[in-house]
Amino acid sequence: MPDKNSDLVQGTLEMLILKTLVLEPMHGYGIALRIEQISKGVFRVNAGSLFPALSRMERAGRIQAEWRATENNRRAKYYVLTDSGRKALKDETKLWGRQIAAISRILEA
């Protein structure tokens, strides 16, 4: 695990959050943990950037928040992907793929 978590490229955090929410609704810490686990610790999302991003996405209608009970029976705010969030994820993934391909082509040239 690197000392510092790599800074996420602007805008990718939202895409990653959308991706983690595809499977099931999650609360804030769950999202952060999932991102860290799947990236094998490369990306560690701290609360200072996670919550503003969640708030922005909620405003944009990509996700919806609702209070639910957790597995150990505490109240927590769960975030649910909306239809427009699903669509946004698809679009962004496509765009990302194109960008990555282009960047690798440049780096390999």
């Binding site: 919550f51 969640l54 708030s55 957790t70 150990n72 705010k77």
Partner: protein, 899 residues
């Protein structure tokens, strides 16, 4: 988008709840993280600490979330506004002075601009006004009669030009039914109203909508249909917008017309300076001749080709330029101009046709253009003074706040935040001032319109709103930026190291303050000199002796209809005079053709004893004449010097007589008794014997020069159509009007009293413009003085305040009170001297520009200049004395200990 707005608003207003939820969510986050840490083998305490460190401050996370939404910006603007309002409320005097200064300065400008906009800039309210032109002529042909030598045409010219297609798609003719108002009647009660006869394409050609009923057609014109369209204003005023008005019968001079339509709101006709109440198609009956004139040689305007009395408008055909249209019509015009005249006289230049833009009403520019521009310049100066005042006050105020700024900088406020804060405060001031200014302007515009007797609607419109808004935006920026320099120059350390006294001294600032004060003084001198000259002009005019006794005199017009001969007309007036004489309280009654003090007069070259008189020194032979009734000079109170007044015994069959004034006798019959000589009558045919000489007195207006005059008896001379009745009564002259109206109505139920007023009022209408501008100039002059006084006081008080410590030291070291007072006073006296020195030369230039508007006072009038200088001096001394006294009463010890 909508959700974003809704959520933003709910987060703004449910801030506490949002906060609680955030707290709960973050607590959950920390707990989950701690649980996770524990599962990796940390102790409970360690796990919690680690989780908390990882998250950082809850507050900063919350702030991050808060800043992500738009509402945080809205909130900080709101906070700025609240902070600004609190700051302004802390210094109520400053705020009130600034807001009032702005309200007066901007309001005055808005009001004058709105009048200027309505009178000089606004287009006619017609469709596509750029394509509409007024027709004008270089001059009418010789041997014609005209109403206006450039703007009126004969009927044959109208007829010829409208037959020409191609250049103008529509040729529109219009002419008033009277020089003033015309008698109308709906029920039993006669009234007066402004009415025009117009061509059938008047509404369609101009593109003016008729909102109820219909407009005129060309058939209406050719058949002289008895139909009328009324204006929206008249519909509102007379019928309270009752839809039943359409279909009603209106008697115009006793002839019945049916109302068939109401014109669109805002259209008040095309006559300069007055709003038309109703229109009828061009008529061809002697009672409804153009301008209310009796037929000329038995012919109305339609059959008398040499009477140039119709005004004309045209609409340019698509794709035709003004020059092309004139070129196409010129020959037709020049031929039609000589219909009824034959060939031009030898050496006579043929008239040429021209077009004037229908941008503004004809005649407005000559009448109001110069005074309005002058007024605009005056209020512009007032605005300049007002702005510089507020800027100075703001600079002074914000310099006093430098410690506050410094403290806030030291506590971590950004300079960008300062800028926003200052701009917000100035915006608040400007918004308050601007709102008040708009109210003030609406009121002032109404007052201006009333004083200037402009009937056209002057209400501020969109253009005026833009004008005011741009002034306001300019002001907001200026006021926000002006104090910024001093605010930005502040260092965070200042508050720590400097005392309040030394932190406020700034040599550079007070120098620019001095320059502004001196310039304000100069502007003030200019305004005061201009104001004083105009006020003196007005007082001179007001005190001019009319040469008659006007108290107790009342005048009204009567225009009898359905009289078929001169004998009948004479009988009507003889009966009228007889009946009015016996009313209680009436001293004497007479009649006249041209009303005194109404600008109207008959002018021509005198014919004495059958030939033009030889005037010593080649002076002018011009004379004015009037046709009047019995006891004329007795009634108006003019002494008869030699011979006699007109009397009832001067009848149609008795010898024709005349009365002349002193100047007539001196100029045309010097060194001999004028009695018994003959003078040409008003109709240019009869020879009248002079039976009396009267003292010179005013005839047309208050500011006229004396001119030779002759009078003849109405029984022997003139048209005997519309005459004006002059009555001398005991007590309030206007109180006789109801009784007089009753008498007139008994004789003819269709007749209203036309423009009834006291003779004094009638004369004062001839100086209404001067009186208006004198009042306004006086008002703006005083306003400027007031503004300069507050500005000066503010600046001086601020400077003295800054010198408190210095003065304390001086007094501790033995300076006397008087020395301290003098040192403060000297400052402002020097500034005043500089201001006056700059102001006087400018005032001289301005006064020279004004000279045509002055009466009985020279542009270099010493008194006006002294008054202006003294007023400025007085203001300076008064505004300095108060701060100076405060300064000198400083207790040295308090001053030294003040920080």
């Amino acid at each position: 988008m909508l959700r974003n707005l809704r959520m933003g608003i709910s987060s703004l207003f449910q801030k506490a709840q949002r906060n609680r939820e955030m707290d709960e969510e973050l607590r959950g986050y920390v707990e989950a993280a701690a649980a996770d840490n524990m599962s990796r083998g940390m102790t409970a305490e360690e796990a919690l600490r680690n989780a908390k460190v990882e998250m950082g401050s809850t507050e900063s996370v919350k702030h991050g979330v808060w800043s992500a939404g738009w509402e945080s910006t809205a909130h900080s603007i709101w906070m700025d506004l609240r902070y600004g309002a609190r700051q302004l409320a802390k210094t109520p005097l400053f705020t009130i002075v600034c807001v009032l200064t702005l309200a007066l300065g901007i309001g005055a400008n808005t009001a004058v601009f709105s009048v200027m906009n309505a009178v000089l800039l606004r287009s006619l309210p017609v469709a596509d006004p750029q394509r509409v032109v007024y027709l004008n002529t270089s001059s009418p042909p010789h041997r014609t009669g005209t109403v206006d030598s450039h703007e009126t045409f004969s009927y044959p010219v109208y007829d010829a030009i409208r037959q020409q297609h191609g250049a103008l798609t529509d040729v529109i003719a219009y002419v008033p039914l009277s020089t003033g108002k015309v008698a109308v009647r709906f029920g039993a009660q006669p009234e007066e109203a402004n009415g025009d006869m117009v061509s059938g394409n008047f509404f369609s050609g101009l593109g003016v909508k008729v909102i109820r009923g219909r407009g005129f057609s060309t058939e209406d014109e050719s058949s002289h249909a008895p139909v009328a369209v009324i204006s929206y204003n008249f519909w509102t005023r007379r019928f309270a917008r009752n839809p039943d008005a359409v279909g009603k019968t209106v008697f115009v001079k006793g002839i019945s017309f049916t109302i068939i339509g109401v014109a669109a709101e805002g259209f008040e006709g095309v006559e300069a300076g007055r709003s038309t109440d109703f229109w009828i198609p061009l008529q061809d009956r002697p009672e409804l001749n153009a301008w209310g004139n009796p037929p000329w040689d038995g012919k109305t305007y339609m059959s008398q080709p040499i009477w140039w009395c119709l005004r004309m408008l045209g609409r340019l055909a698509p794709g035709v330029t003004t020059a092309q249209a004139i070129a196409q019509l010129q020959l037709t015009f020049q031929n039609a101009a000589y219909v009824g005249l034959g060939n031009p006289e030898p050496g006579e230049k043929r008239p040429t046709l021209g077009f004037g833009e229908a941008k503004s009403f004809p005649g407005y520019d000559e009448q109001y253009g110069k005074p309005l521009r002058m007024l605009m310049a005056m209020v512009g100066l007032v605005l300049l003074i007002a702005f510089s005042n507020v800027v100075m006050l703001l600079i002074a105020r914000n310099s006093n706040r430098r410690r506050e700024f410094s403290l806030r900088l030291a506590l971590g406020a950004g300079r960008g935040k300062f800028f926003r804060q200052l701009l917000t405060e100035s915006l608040l001031l400007v918004a308050l001032g601007g709102g008040l200014a708009w109210l003030f302007a609406i009121w002032a515009t109404k007052a201006l319109g009333f004083w200037a007797q402009i009937e056209t609607s002057l209400a501020p419109d969109g253009i005026v709103l833009y004008f005011t808004l741009s002034i306001l935006i300019l002001a907001a920026l200026l006021f926000g930026l002006a104090p910024l320099r001093s605010a930005l120059a502040v260092q965070p350390g200042l508050v720590l190291k400097a005392s309040s006294a030394t932190s406020n001294t700034d040599v550079g600032k007070s120098r620019s303050g001095k320059v502004i004060v001196a310039l304000q003084m100069a502007l003030c001198v200019v305004l005061l000199v201009g104001g004083a000259l105009l006020v003196r002009t007005f007082r001179n005019l007001k005190n001019v002796s009319l040469g008659m006794r006007t108290d107790g005199l009342v005048v009204f017009g009567v225009n009898p209809q359905n009289l078929h001969s001169r004998t009948e007309a004479l009988a009507f007036y003889e009966e009228l005079i007889r009946r009015l004489r016996v009313l209680p309280g009436v001293d004497s009654v007479t009649v006249m053709e041209s009303r005194l003090g109404s600008w109207w007069s008959n002018n021509r070259n005198a014919i004495v004893d059958g030939k033009p008189p030889i005037v010593a020194g080649g002076g002018s032979g011009l004379t004015r004449s009037n046709v009047v009734g019995p006891d004329f000079f007795h009634t108006i109170g003019v002494p008869v010097l030699v011979g006699r007044d007109f009397s009832d015994s001067d009848t149609a069959t008795s010898p024709h007589v005349a009365v002349v004034n002193e100047l007539f006798a001196e100029r045309f019959l010097p060194n001999q008794s004028p009695l018994g000589h003959h003078v040409m009558g008003d109709d240019g045919k009869t020879e009248n014997v002079i039976v009396g000489v009267v003292k010179n007195h005013k005839y047309r207006s208050i500011d006229e020069e004396p001119i030779p005059m002759s009078w003849s008896a109405y029984t022997q001379d003139g048209d005997v159509a519309e005459l004006h009745v002059e009555m001398r009564v005991h007590g309030d002259p206007l109180a006789i009007l109801p009784a007089a109206q009753k008498v007139v109505q008994q004789m003819d139920p269709n007749l209203p009293l036309l423009q009834p007023m006291t003779q004094r009022e009638q004369f004062e209408t001839t100086i209404s413009q001067q009186s208006l501008f004198a009042r306004l100039a006086g008002f703006f002059g005083s306003l400027a003085v007031l503004l300069v006084a507050t500005g000066l006081y503010g600046t001086l008080a601020y400077r003295v305040n800054n010198r408190t410590v210095e003065i304390g030291v001086r007094m501790a070291l033995g300076a006397r009170r008087s020395q301290v007072v003098w040192s403060v006073l000297r400052d402002s006296l020097v500034l005043t001297a500089i201001g006056v020195a700059i102001g006087i030369p400018i005032a001289v230039v301005v006064a020279k520009l004004l000279s045509s508007a002055l009466f009985g006072v020279q542009p270099y009038d010493a008194l006006s200049y002294s008054v202006a200088t003294c007023s400025v001096l007085l203001v300076a001394v008064l505004a300095s004395l108060l701060p100076a006294r405060t300064a000198s009463s400083v207790d040295p010890w308090t001053a030294l200990r003040s920080d």
